[in-house]
Assembly symmetry: C2
Homo-oligomer: 247 residues x 2
Amino acid sequence: MAGKPSVLRETDDDARKLARELLRSARSAAIAVIEPGSDGFPFVSRVLLGIDTDGTPVILVSALSTHTQALSADRRCSLLTGEIGKGDPLAHARLTVQCQAERIERDSVAHGRIRERFIRRHPKAQLYVDFPDFAFFRLTPLKASLNAGFGRAYVLDGEDLLIRSPAIDDVAAMETRAIDHMNTDHSDAASKYAKLYCNAKGTGWRICGLDAAGVDLASGDQLKRLEYEKPLQSGGELRERLVILYG
Amino acid sequence: MAGKPSVLRETDDDARKLARELLRSARSAAIAVIEPGSDGFPFVSRVLLGIDTDGTPVILVSALSTHTQALSADRRCSLLTGEIGKGDPLAHARLTVQCQAERIERDSVAHGRIRERFIRRHPKAQLYVDFPDFAFFRLTPLKASLNAGFGRAYVLDGEDLLIRSPAIDDVAAMETRAIDHMNTDHSDAASKYAKLYCNAKGTGWRICGLDAAGVDLASGDQLKRLEYEKPLQSGGELRERLVILYG
C-alpha cells in the first residue's frame, strides 16, 4: 500500500472487529469482477450476501448475470459492504474485501449447509434458490481494506475475516435446533441482544444465524451482527455464552 | 451479451430515462477499478458522485486512496448506483456504468464548473475540495447495464447517459443565478417539483442543479432527479420549462 502512509493506521483488534461486523451484518454487497471478454474491464453489480460457518462470505447468483459469467472466467472479485447512514455517505465505515470465488456444487455437503443458512438470512431467496441457473459461490477473503471514516484506513489480512475455532463444525451441527429453541422458548433474547450489543431498537428481532464467533440478528430489513469477544472453543460453550450475554 | 437472451429486454425510452435518473440522483456510488500492481485484481470502494453539465458523472477523490491510484494507472472503471429501499435488496433498480476516467486539472475551465456544481450537490465537500491531494475525475460512460428488478435487464450505450443539446453551455452559464433565483424567490417550487415528479415527500427541498436535461433536487440526505421529457434546445427555454413544470 505504498503512497498511503499518512492515512493508514496500525490494524488493531477494534479495527478487525469492526471489519467483521461490517461484513457479517451485510444483507447485500457491491461486487467487482472482471467483465468476461473485455480484456480486463472492471464491472460492479449488486449481490445478496450470506456467511458460511467459517466466516467466508457466500453469494447466490444467477448464471444469466454478468457477475456469474465473470467469476466462471476469472475467480478474482472484490466486495464492498457497510451501509450508508445519515449525513455524508463517506463518513460511514465501509469494508472492501478482495476474494477468490469458488462455485459450490449442488450435491455437496457444503451446499446443504450454505443453502439452509442463506435462506434463514434471506427468507425470500427460497423462491429461487433451487432454480437450475442459480448457484452459490464461496468468496474466500485474501485481503481487505477498512475505511472507518475520513483519515481512518486500515489494511487487513484475509485471515482477519475468517473464523478460526475447533468449534465450527459442532456449532454448525446444532445451529438449526439452537436457533429454533432460542426464537421459540426465549423469544425476547434476540431483541435484548440487538439492543445491548448492536445499538439496535425495537422488539421484533430474531436470531437468524449462530456460529462459533457470534450471532446474526434480523428484524424486517435490518441485520445485525453480535460478534463474541473470543470465538467459542467447543459446541458445549454455546449455551453458556448465550446465557451470559442475556445478562 | 451472449448467454443473456432470456432476461435481456429491448432497451426503450423508459429504460433510458430510469437509467439516467438512477445515475443523476445518486449521492454516492460503488466504484470498481483495477488495483494497481495487482495484475488485474478488481477493487471496489465508495465515492461521492456528481454530474457535469453534459451528464458525465464526476467524482472527487483523494490521491491517498486506492481508487485514485488505480485510475492513474488504468482509466477503466465501473460505477454502481441505485439505492437499496425496503424489502429485498435485489428488488430495487440499479445501474452499472462502465466508464473511462479523465483527471480534471485544477487550473482548467472544467474544474471551476465541476467544483461549483459538486459543492452545491455536496456542501460538506467544501471542507476538503481544495486540499492538494484531492482531484476531480470525469467518468465518460462507455456502456451500461440497467437491472430494474428480477428478470428486467437492459443494456445501454454510453450515449444514453449523456446530455446532447445545443443548450448545455447556455444553461451552464445561467445555472448559479437561476438556482439562486428559484430557491430565493420561488422557494416552494423545489418541493412542488419533488412531490409532483419524483414521488418525494416533505417541504424542505431546494434546487441544487440545473442543466439542459433536468433539475437536481436536494433535501437533507435525499437527492432526486427531475428529468425533462426532452432536453432544452436553448438557454432561453429554461425559464418557461420551469414555469410549465410548476403547473
